[in-house]
């Protein structure tokens, strides 16, 4: 992916092909990434079972679960048999003399990850365990370390966001920063933020706005306005989820447990702000572009068939930093902060500017305000 390009374009899965033909896309020559591949050639059925469960993951995200196996039709029978026996395999792991310690550990992690509970209901200890498992699993698969946290919401914090319409020039640096920060799928060019280019003098005509432009900005006679998840105080998406895989945290962030989501997309239908995204196919991020500072509820690797969304960069905001979009904005149009802190910039904006929110009549109470200079 070229550095100068303003936006990502489809790379037609070239990277993926390269990866499956021996390498792993991480550009590392130490052999760690390749070693599981070599193990595949071993005759033991046990190895096949391991491969069926994690074979495709070793060069990318380590979150695919045991049953979500990518089936190669040619070797489908072999893999199917192996998958069926994976339970037995996991048991035999403990007494197997032939399998390596790593493979044993991988199987163990996959097993525990498949049958873990809902993050929302986990105790801090359980949260730590799953995070440790996920980090270890990534290490086993790619030979690289990631740092993942499970920080809970701090007390007396309620995050809010304000957007200065007068300042935004439509550069979309926020969009790029967001994609890089949050490890969004590069193939489908998933973006949480949409920048709407609107004509001066027509007011907020969203339906006539262009939210997918590729020209030089700012265009004469236009103004720009960004939308993303508004982290509603009364979020309709949370109510509709049949399994409570999405919820509002204490600090106001609306988050998703990617491992608990069943992918019914009811929340997507319920969101009035186009704030949610679905992984229609397996999300892919080139290994060298992966942001390794992760949060369980934030930018960790997602898998195929689950929802995801803007989390106000939970991995940053809970560390006292601004979200990536705020930091990246060259015009200062984006303001983020703690609504409960009377000295915060966001409070100053809310108290001194004429602010408004979108679709207030729906009663969703977004924590995302717009204002003009």
């Amino acid at each position: 992916m070229s550095e100068n390009k303003k936006w990502y374009s489809l790379d037609l899965g070239l990277k993926r092909k390269k990866a499956s033909s021996g390498g792993c896309g991480c550009g590392k020559s130490e052999g760690d990434c390749n070693s599981p591949k070599e193990e595949l050639s071993a005759e033991e059925f046990y190895e096949a079972a391991i491969n069926a469960s994690i074979g495709d993951e070793r060069h990318r995200d380590g979150f695919e679960q045991v049953f979500d196996v990518k089936m190669d039709r040619r070797s489908a029978f072999k893999k199917l048999t192996a998958s069926l026996l994976i339970g037995a395999g996991a048991v035999s792991t403990s007494c197997s003399l032939t399998s390596s310690g790593d493979a044993k550990e991988k199987a163990q992690i996959d097993w525990e990850e498949q049958f873990k509970g809902n993050y929302k209901l986990m105790s801090d200890e359980e949260k730590k365990k799953t995070v440790d498992r996920l980090m270890r699993s990534y290490e086993l698969r790619t030979g690289k370390n990631i740092s993942m946290t499970a920080e809970n919401a701090e007390e007396d914090v309620l995050f809010g966001y304000a957007f200065n319409i007068s300042k935004c020039q439509g550069y979309m640096d926020c969009v790029t920063a967001c994609v890089e920060e949050n490890n969004q799928d590069r193939n489908s060019e998933m973006q949480y933020i949409r920048i709407h280019e609107m004509k001066d003098g027509e007011g907020f005509k969203f339906d006539k706005a262009d939210d997918n432009y590729y020209h030089e900005v700012p265009v004469e006679g236009h103004f720009y306005m960004g939308t993303q998840c508004f982290h509603c105080d009364n979020p309709p998406c949370v109510d509709v989820c049949p399994v409570q895989a999405t919820w509002k945290e204490e600090d106001g962030l609306v988050v998703v447990d990617y491992d608990w989501c069943i992918g019914c997309r009811y929340c997507m239908a319920a969101c009035p702000y186009d704030g949610r995204r679905f992984n229609w196919s397996k999300p892919e991020v080139p290994e060298n572009e992966v942001n390794k500072n992760q949060h369980y509820l934030g930018n960790r690797m997602r898998k195929k068939g689950v929802m995801e969304k803007c989390t106000f960069c939970v991995q940053r905001s809970r560390k006292g930093k601004n979200p990536a979009c705020v930091e990246a904005c060259p015009t200062g149009a984006r303001i983020f902060g703690n609504l409960l802190d009377p000295n915060s910039t966001i409070r100053w904006v809310l108290e001194n500017k004429k602010v408004f929110r979108l679709k207030e009549d729906l009663g969703t109470e977004p924590k995302f305000w717009y204002f003009m200079d």
């Binding site: 049953f67 979500d68 969203f206």
Partner: protein, 410 residues
């Protein structure tokens, strides 16, 4: 102990019945199996690649699967229109038809569940939805309600006919005190499954096209037209191919139900059209898109106008006694209504709910061939299940299948 013996014998006998039949029967089942296999192949591709192989996307996130699900919930609910007169109003007319109706409900419900699973991004973690093991968002999520009512209705519709057939199989009369409470419950339950399914859409303030109070009642009206219409067609086929007797009176009564429901459905359609177009607001855009197209995007026009024409013609024809009493015209009208309401619930209801999107963007939806393959496969699965159920039920009702106790055979 004896009950188990009888049950075992029933299973053996019914397996015997469903594997034997005329050449036409075998051709039919073979044909269905082929389609099911094609559907399974398409689904395996979807499992491998993800839902990106369907025509759905972030803007139109529900499509053919959820459309068919919605429609089939209606078909399943329609069994109540036969159950009520038979078991509760004691109108003996429907007795033969009601077992067929309940069999149809079972097949429709299984198809519903299959469509929902086909639509899921993570079928491997569906256990998250099982109360007790998973986390169920009850009573907040309407989808959680739907899971409960659908499975409950499936249970009722399996147990009641099973009890009755089980008794008949032994040459005994079914005891009213046993099945009547279930039948009464099923009547309310049938209304509930359809209303709850309507609430699934109706409760979303984000989608003004669905967020209207008429949606639930209109679901019921269209379901009570399409469901019994299908039952009439199925009864006609059964009458033609088997010795199972379906009285003329029965079909006439069901035809009456279809007619009234179709008329009510039309009245509601007029009310909806009036509301959307007399004083159009920002919220009428989906309706504009559906009926007239918006900003040059017109993908749904052929569908909806076909549906409306079929609907109006069929309802008008059914309204005249003389036409309705002519079996050939009746069957023709029922087929038209069935197709019309299928379109109305799918391309006419689910898809335009997403178009235009929350910020007015119009992205049109067209199902891919894989999606169509899976859909047809699930329909074939439904037909397959129904054929098996109906063949066994008919066998028992005709007295061909009877339990032979040892005393009898000696």
């Amino acid at each position: 102990m004896r009950q188990f013996k009888v049950f075992k014998s029933l299973v053996v006998d019914s397996l015997d019945t469903i594997t034997k039949g005329s050449v036409k029967y075998h051709l039919w089942m073979g044909f269905l199996t082929l389609i099911i296999l094609i559907g399974m192949y398409c689904y395996s591709i979807q499992l491998e690649e993800g839902l990106s192989v369907t025509g759905m996307n972030d803007r139109v996130s529900w499509g053919l699967y959820i459309s068919n699900f919605t429609f089939l919930v209606g078909v399943a609910a329609a069994a109540v229109m036969l159950v009520m007169p038979t078991y509760i109003l004691k109108d003996i007319d429907f007795k033969q038809a009601v077992l067929i109706g309940e069999g149809l409900a079972v097949a429709a419900l299984i198809m519903c569940i299959a469509f929902v699973i086909a639509d899921m991004g993570g079928p491997a973690v569906l256990w998250h939805m099982i109360p007790g093991i998973g986390v169920f968002n009850f009573p907040k999520s309407m989808l959680a309600w739907d899971v409960i009512v659908l499975n409950g209705y499936l249970f009722i519709n399996i147990t009641i006919p099973f009890y009755i057939l089980f008794r008949h199989y032994q040459g005994k009369e079914a005891k009213k005190s046993v099945y009547l409470p279930g039948a009464v419950l099923s009547v309310f339950w049938a209304v509930a499954i359809h209303l709850v399914t309507a609430f699934l859409y109706q409760g979303l303030q984000a989608r003004p096209f669905w967020n209207n109070a008429l949606l639930g009642p209109r679901f019921l009206a269209s379901a009570f037209a399409a469901g019994p219409a299908l039952i009439i067609l199925v009864l006609a086929i059964i009458k033609h191919f088997t010795a199972f007797k379906v009285e003329e009176r029965t079909i006439k009564k069901i035809a009456m139900i279809v007619t009234v429901a179709a008329q009510i459905n039309l009245i509601m359609l007029i009310s909806e059209l009036f509301k959307e177009f007399y004083a159009p607001t920002h919220h009428s855009e989906s309706a504009y898109y559906l009926f007239f197209g918006l900003h040059g995007k017109t993908a749904l026009l052929p569908w909806i106008w076909t549906a409306i024409s079929l609907n109006v013609i069929a309802t008008a024809m059914l309204t005249f006694n003389r036409l309705r009493n002519n079996p050939k015209v009746l069957y023709f009208c029922c087929a038209m209504l069935f197709v019309a309401i299928w379109i109305e619930k799918g391309f006419g209801l689910i898809v335009p709910g997403f178009i235009p999107g929350p910020y007015g963007k119009i992205v049109e939806y067209l199902p891919t061939s894989i999606e169509v393959g899976v859909t047809i496969g699930i329909w074939a699965l439904g037909a397959f299940i129904f054929t098996i159920l109906a063949k066994t039920a008919i066998g028992i009702e005709l007295g061909e299948l009877r339990y032979k106790s040892k005393e009898d055979t000696l």
